[in-house]
């Protein structure tokens, strides 16, 4: 007796208990199984049933497509785009987050506007693209829509200056998605011309007003997934030592007149704490290491009081008390990253998750604060996890 003696309904129920990779392999056994997987709706209805109950966004997409099979195809193909990415547009770079919203996958770039007072900041974002699925003669068609940045909003128009206009004529695509990297291709380059030629202008005109400055968008941009360890809030007091570590993740700081920049702090394989720029500037661009300090550090109470006092004085009115000092190096360079070199630097940690990096040569400390993007559904992650898990026993 062969498995093919089961009727379609039963075969579908068996298949629905499998992970995607296993469904895929089974479908390649014969025509009938192939048809059940790729040419009918029932299997995907079972696979997506629970998921659809939980997720409004997914129901919206189903509404657009009118097909469980195409919905599954869209989710399988594009879900791994969800997440936080760093774009390699030199020198400034781009922090991009992709999430499911209103029946599409949307990509938004994030930045900060910084008010006149230290520590007052606001997260701002701009819609960059929308991946819209469509049922085109019973096949999945996905269109990538660009949202152009409005060229100049200096005309005194009130409200959000950067209204997002869909760029409909663009033939754009995301040709290849790997779990940690993808490439966006635009039909044409977009170049507002003035970026970063005068950081002061950018800062005064855009960032302080709560807008992201216009940016050059090349034809091809490669995005890499930002990977860092997310520490769970520990309820166990014995984990105090763990808590004592500087947390991995995104931080932001005001790099002088370059304005706010976003860095990723990670522990690298040489047991150094590394701060790599997600967004950069004309001197030290995105992708470069801004500072690198030793994991081993000195507690402030282990040091002579004068040593701490000198540093504390440099922090001036910040009001944060130094708890740990990590020594290491910081990167400095001339414009366009000419003659980059490493100079002695220190990372001064405070009680909260904030810290400052002191380039001894430059004298002024730069203050870093954790950057938290708004929470989102993580629909894609949950979908991929549910699709990757197999049956409960074998």
């Amino acid at each position: 007796m062969s498995i093919l003696d089961l009727n379609d309904g039963l075969l579908v129920q068996v298949l629905s208990k499998l992970s995607f990779a296993n469904i895929f392999r089974t479908s390649r056994c014969c025509k009938r199984l192939w048809g059940l997987v790729w040419e009918s709706e029932e299997l995907w209805y079972y696979v997506l049933k629970d998921f659809l109950e939980e997720e409004v966004v997914i129901r919206q997409i189903l509404g657009l497509l009118g097909s469980y099979r195409l919905l599954a195809k869209f989710l399988v193909k594009y879900s791994s785009l969800e997440g936080v990415w760093a774009g390699d547009i030199k020198p400034r770079g781009q922090l991009l987050r992709v999430e499911f919203e209103d029946g599409a996958l949307v990509g938004k770039t994030y930045g900060l506007s910084v008010g006149p007072r230290l520590g007052v900041h606001r997260l701002i974002n701009r819609l960059l693209f929308k991946l819209e699925p469509e049922n085109h003669n019973n096949e999945l068609k996905v269109t990538c829509k660009w949202f152009r940045q409005s060229q100049d909003s200096a005309g005194g128009e009130q409200g959000q200056g950067s209204s997002d206009l869909p760029d409909n004529d663009a033939e754009d695509a995301i040709p290849e998605i790997r779990s940690d990297e993808f490439t966006l291709i635009r039909s044409a380059e977009e170049d507002p011309g003035e970026i970063l030629t005068n950081p002061r202008n950018v800062y005064v005109r855009y960032i302080s007003r709560g807008e992201l400055p216009p940016e050059r968008l090349p034809r091809k941009t490669t995005y890499r997934r930002l990977k860092y360890e997310i520490q769970q809030q520990s309820e166990n007091p014995s984990d105090a030592e763990h808590e004592d570590k500087l947390k991995e993740g995104m931080y932001w700081a005001l790099y002088g007149l370059h304005g706010p920049e976003i860095i990723l702090v990670t522990y690298n394989e040489n047991s150094m704490i590394e701060g790599r720029k997600i967004t950069g500037d004309l001197n030290v661009p995105c992708g470069q290491v801004s500072f690198s300090v030793e994991v081993d550090c000195l507690r402030s109470y282990q040091l002579p009081p004068e040593t701490v006092a000198v540093r504390q004085a440099l922090l001036q009115a910040a009001g944060d008390e130094i708890t740990h000092i990590h020594s290491g190096v910081g990167t400095v360079a001339e414009e366009y990253f000419r003659h980059p070199r490493l100079t002695v630097a220190e990372l001064l940690r405070f009680r909260n998750d904030n810290f400052a990096v002191l380039w001894l040569e430059l004298g002024n400390p730069i203050f870093f604060r954790p950057l938290k993007l708004p929470e989102y559904g993580e629909v894609g992650r949950r979908f991929l996890e549910s699709m990757a898990s197999g049956p409960p026993f074998s």
């Binding site: 007796m1 062969s2 498995i3 093919l4 003696d5 089961l6 009727n7 309904g9 039963l10 129920q13 068996v14 298949l15 629905s16 208990k17 499998l18 992970s19 995607f20 990779a21 296993n22 895929f24 392999r25 089974t26 390649r28 056994c29 014969c30 025509k31 199984l33 192939w34 790729w38 195809k73 399988v76 193909k77 879900s79 791994s80 290849e176 998605i177 790997r178 779990s179 699709m387 990757a388 197999g390 049956p391 409960p392 026993f393 074998s394």
Partner: protein, 164 residues
Amino acid sequence: MTEKGRIVKMVSQDQEEFEVEYGVATMSTLIANVLQDVSEETTTVPIPNVNAQVLAKVIEYCRYHYEAKRIDQSEEDIERWNKDFMKVDNKTLFNILIAASFLDIADLLDLGCKTVAGMIKDKSVEQIRELFCIEGDFTEEQEAKMREENNWGSEMSQENNAAQ
């Protein structure tokens, strides 16, 4: 007659009779529906497309689970029993699946499907074909389409290629 002491006679395809307690028999939604629609005196239910060997297996399942529920058997014990219960040859397994689907016993159907899925899991196309006596019957055209569908989620198909 109270439901408690009521006995239902199930008759298999090959005319073998099984006497089953009411509570056990009605784990099958089909039988429960049939018994609801007929007078209480009727106690014989023919199961025309399930043979004695398979019906015995199905009744064994229902009996165990009926008891297990009554005495509040632990999850682990039930799971262990289920696993042992499913240690049968393919033919019996498929027949149980068909019977569970016909008799509408949701838990048994689910267990059967999971068992078959477990057999398929992490096997290559060739191994699956061999396991279930399936002959590859694709045309050139379909092979081409298959490669195209291969683009569904590059990662997952990479995993797929690696496993072969």
